[in-house]
């Protein structure tokens, strides 16, 4: 038992110490009696108000906010689920698989609409569409694309203008990018045509929405496809350079989800944190421009156009299935 404990401590030390985080910040008093370790894919800036309001109410609790990309986050958490209390991610499929595989702890006495949660252990709290983000200057004099068809037409009409200046997620790196791509692909064949067109234009591949937005704003690329609209809208400072378009043909709307680790040493406090998170976001039914758009819980399941939380999310995580998808995607995008 003692050896096991020591081993776990070593592992903990190695994980927390050696892990290369995208960002890591601590909120709350330095002498807090407990520290909640929150593993998240969300940029700290977007979450900061919420975290600050939590530590303001719960004075004896501090938060260690650890940011990683969705795929990394999934791997890290699967290796050491006991080292983290709460996991927040935009990759619904990976989060769903965590819950399905028993990594999430069901929360008792927590009323929440059925369509926005799964097994009382995975809770959705934002509604974030994938958007087309364009550089206003680059599209001066051109039709603003409102559908994927429009975008295909614009790109085909001006190949020289867009050569090397289009971007999208590298689905092999980003979990949320893979989610958007697979959901697009299962909804419409237009996705593959768009990918072929973008591939023909030597599309730039990105790990994260933030970088895509920066590059569109700076003019390095003219258009980015499947960017998290919430991130783009949140960048009020770039509003003059970029325009965020949510496609009108069909929308792929992701819900950010949170779960409490099944092996958390602080289940009660983790639940309090998740409850705070859901209350702040979801109950608000829409956030301010500087934070993530909340989920409208007043509407029922039928009124939702978000990606449903259901076992089918496991489909594209299947190794055969994803291998096939990666092959098709690579064939289309990297020519």
């Amino acid at each position: 038992m003692r050896y096991l404990f020591a081993l776990i401590l070593c592992l903990l030390a190695s994980v927390s110490g050696a892990q290369d985080w995208e960002d890591r910040q601590r909120f709350g008093p330095a002498d807090a009696s407990r520290v909640l370790r929150v593993l998240s894919s969300t940029d700290t800036a977007l979450f900061e108000p919420l975290l600050r309001s939590f530590v303001a109410v719960n004075a004896d609790t501090a938060i260690d906010y650890l940011v990683a990309s969705t795929s990394e986050l999934d791997q890290i958490f699967r290796q050491t689920p006991e080292a983290y209390d709460v996991v927040i991610s935009s990759a619904m499929d990976l989060q769903f698989k965590l819950a399905n595989d028993g990594f999430a702890r069901p929360l008792e006495d927590f009323p929440y609409p059925g369509w926005a949660q799964w097994r009382r252990s995975l809770f959705a709290f934002t509604s974030e569409p994938a958007a087309i983000v364009i550089n206003r200057d680059a599209f001066a004099g051109l039709d603003i694309p409102h559908t994927r068809q429009d975008l295909i037409r614009v790109l085909r009409d001006r190949p020289t203008l867009f050569q090397g200046r289009v971007g999208t997620y590298d689905v092999r790196q980003s979990g949320v990018g893979y989610l958007f791509a697979t959901q697009d692909a299962r909804t419409s064949e237009t996705y593959w045509r768009l990918m072929e067109v973008m591939g023909g234009l030597q599309t730039q591949l990105y790990c994260c929405s933030g970088e895509m937005i920066e590059d569109v704003a700076s003019g390095r690329i003219a258009v980015a496809y499947n960017v998290l609209a919430s991130y783009a809208v949140a960048r009020a400072d770039l509003a003059d350079q970029i325009e965020v378009i949510v496609p009108s043909d069909f929308q792929t709307i992701m819900m950010r989800t949170a779960l409490v680790s099944a092996r958390t040493p602080r289940p009660a406090h983790a639940q309090v944190f998740v409850a705070h998170l859901l209350r702040q976001k979801a109950a608000a039914g829409g956030g301010s421009a500087t934070s993530l758009p909340g989920l409208d819980l007043t509407r029922d399941a039928a009124g939702q156009s978000t990606i449903p939380l259901q076992p089918a999310l496991l489909t594209y995580l299947d190794t055969l299935k994803s291998a096939g998808f990666f092959k098709d995607w690579t064939d289309a995008v990297i020519q």
Binding site: N100, R186, Q310, A312, T319, L320, K321, G324
Partner: protein, 454 residues
């Protein structure tokens, strides 16, 4: 009589218990049967969905350019969505090797063909697993692809809970209704028995007629043997009454002859001791014939009491008539009657019986009154018609008062007075036959009082 009947378990309780017990057993059987059946159907439903999922994954398996591709549709797992958010696991195997999915999912060998379902435990929870296999022809030969899809059983358990609740409610309802019905059935069954008991209990002491009302077929043997028994009883009672009457009658006539002979002889004998013997002989004969007469009276009363011939009579008239007829006997003993009577005291009764009873009562008073005394006779009408006869004799012995109306019972102080012990019995029988009473008492100034009320 009733306290000598030994009771075994009550029929009603037995019947009720058997019926309720049967209903409980039936309710339990229904509960378990329906639940079992519902479980099977619910399980079948889950198996079908799992089977469809497995089939859709298997159908997607193709070998293209020598490599296996299983591009199964989104719907394959989407169809496994349940209201209870059941967890879903799957595994895809090629020739027994895990290709993708959950490698540790419990496995069973399956031949290509129809799907097979079973329940196993995976990751600490019971899951339902459906497996099917398919043979594919590849360049290097045949290859067998098998797919297992597993699902937890939360939704199924919820459905079963609902069904169990509904069925339990149904079973309880059935049981309650059956219980109510069994109470009803029991009282309906016991009813005729109760009615028979009531009709027999309500009968007068002399009524030995057969039960005439219709009874259920099951009770016919009991009732017919009852009727039979009563018939025999009635017959033997009648026979003995007849015998007594016949015997009294037969004795009375020769006694009269013997008396007249004895009286004639008394006139002729001179010797004092002979005369004395003859006188006591005459007195003995008188006593015997009087007893015979009273036996006859009693037999007659027993007979007439069953077939009372009621008429409206004036009790005063009846009493004065008897008094005037007994006047000569009273005068012989220097006894006077003092009659206080309302002019009309209407009664409804059998005149012959009433006369008999009143005559016996006044006779008694005469017998026990000392010479030169007065017998008070009162006839009045208050709530009931009432006749009181009081003498100045020795009175009733108080400790024997209750038993004096029995047949042949005589007071301890009645020695030396001729009497059969039937007078009060006759009066009592007549009073009872008319739904009246006979009350014995003693006067404070000495003497017996009999109150005859109708």
């Amino acid at each position: 009589m009733t306290d000598t009947v030994r009771a075994s378990a009550s029929l009603r309780r037995r019947l009720t218990l058997v019926l309720i017990g049967g209903a409980a057993v039936l309710a339990l059987l229904i509960y378990f049967f329906v639940r079992h059946y519902a479980t099977q159907i619910a399980q079948q439903g889950q198996d079908e969905v799992l089977g469809a999922s497995v089939t859709s994954i298997l159908d997607a398996a193709v070998i293209r350019n020598g490599t296996l591709e299983i591009d199964f549709p989104y719907a394959s797992l989407s169809m496994l969505n349940t209201a209870s958010d059941d967890r879903v696991f799957y595994a895809i195997y090629r020739d027994g090797e895990v290709l993708s999915g959950y490698p540790s999912l419990p496995r069973r060998a399956v031949e290509p063909g129809g799907p097979m379902s079973w329940t196993a435990v995976f990751d600490g929870t019971p899951v339902r697993i459906t497996t099917a296999a398919r043979r594919l022809i590849a360049a290097e030969g045949q290859t067998v692809i098998s797919v297992s899809v597993a699902q937890t059983q939360d939704a199924l358990a919820g459905t079963l809970r609902n069904i169990s609740q509904t069925v339990a409610l149904f079973g309880a309802g059935f049981f309650l209704m059956a219980t109510a019905l069994s109470f009803w059935a029991t009282s309906a069954t016991i009813g005729p028995l109760k009615r028979l008991t009531t009709s027999i209990t309500r009968r007068g002491p002399q009524d030995l007629s057969p039960v005439a009302k219709p009874v259920p077929a099951e009770m016919i043997p009991l009732v017919s043997s009852l009727n039979n028994l009563m018939g025999r009883l009635d017959h033997s009672l009648r026979q003995s009454e007849d015998f007594i009457a016949e015997a009294a009658h037969r004795v009375r006539t020769p006694l009269a002859t013997v008396r007249s002979h004895a009286e004639a002889t008394l006139q002729r004998v001179e010797k004092e001791e002979n005369r004395k013997a003859l006188r006591s002989m005459v007195r003995a004969i008188d006593e015997s014939s009087r007893a015979a007469g009273q036996l006859l009276d009693h037999a007659m009363i027993t007979f007439r009491a069953d077939h009372l011939e009621r008429q409206t009579l004036n009790l005063t008239e009846l009493v004065t008539d008897i008094v005037s007829r007994l006047e000569p006997v009273a005068e012989m003993k220097d006894i006077a009657f003092r009659v206080e009577a309302a002019p009309v005291v209407p009664v409804s009764g059998d005149p012959i019986l009433l006369q008999n009873a009143i005559r016996n009562l006044i006779d008694n008073a005469l017998k026990y009154s000392p010479g030169e005394s007065v017998i008070d006779i009162t006839v009045c009408m208050d709530e009931t018609a009432r006749l009181t006869i009081c003498d100045s004799g020795p009175g009733f012995p108080p400790e024997q008062m209750a038993g004096l109306v029995d047949r042949f019972a005589r007071g301890a102080n009645a020695e030396g007075i001729t009497g059969s012990g039937l007078g009060l019995t006759i009066a009592q029988d007549v009073a009872v036959a008319h739904n009246g009473h006979l009350v014995l008492s003693n006067r404070s100034s000495g003497g017996a009082c009999v109150t005859f009320s109708l």
